[in-house]
Amino acid sequence: MTGLGLFTLRVENADRLALSGSVIVANHPSLIDALLIVARARNVCCVAKPALFRNPCTAYVFRRAGYLQSDSADLIDDAAAAIRAGDNVLVFPEGTRNEDDTTLNFKRGAAHVALSTSCRIQPVTIDCHPRTLQRGDHWYDVPTTVPQIIVRALAPMDIDDHTDSDVPVTLAARRLTRSLRSVFVREARGFARFDDEPFPGNAMAGLTPPDSGLDGSVR
């Protein structure tokens, strides 16, 4: 798709995606986010909303790939089993494509999976500038400038601070989800698109250079 000039892509810290038995957590600005990650990490099992198991474009692939349906009563157990088997489970905790990158209303399933397997969480941010293929957009609505997508694998998160057995799992999942969300909010405020539009009420906007820590491939 980059070859067609539809967008430019930069992946930072791509080596962090060479992992197994982890929960990969990403924000969800566009239609192609999952592809960008699945293309770079091995053995990725996606958690997807039920509609994608009915959509004729995706249903066959999603079922064949053994992807997990987000409304399943066995979701946490199935995802935990995948992680114990060495797969990585990709979760978009926003549940669906977002309207903006800083609201980040995270659901807690990813935290439950990590807590039940004591695995690490690999946060990945996706910065799409200008935003394209959003929820509600038609796939043929092409922006006038070529979108730049930066996929950034952040430092993996250890969940050891959250595995106190005296704390009910419901509370542990809330706390872990809050920590995870704050990582994404902090990162999202440095997204490239804020370089030319000031982030409301945030004096730190634009202070994080978008190319910090670059060691991934540039395409």
């Binding site: 946490i76 807690r108 799992v169 419901t170 509370l171 809330r174």
Partner: protein, 87 residues
Amino acid sequence: MSAAQTRDSLHEMAASAMSRLFEIDAGALVPDARLSEDLDIDSIDSVNLIIELRRTTGKDIPAEHFREVRTYGDVMSTLETLLLPKA
């Protein structure tokens, strides 16, 4: 003697479980409070709540009775039907 023999003690027990599991203040537990939108309780939380209520009451609380509940008031009326002695 069950811990949940009267309506008041049943409500107290539910409120204490809500606080322990979800850090929800008793003040937020009004009958109209919607579990998902107002109290931020998801499906995994519901399962954990039922397990906790079974543990504190020592009674079997079948999960299928909670399939249709939407508000805190629904939860309480379901619990009253299941746990309070019939008048």
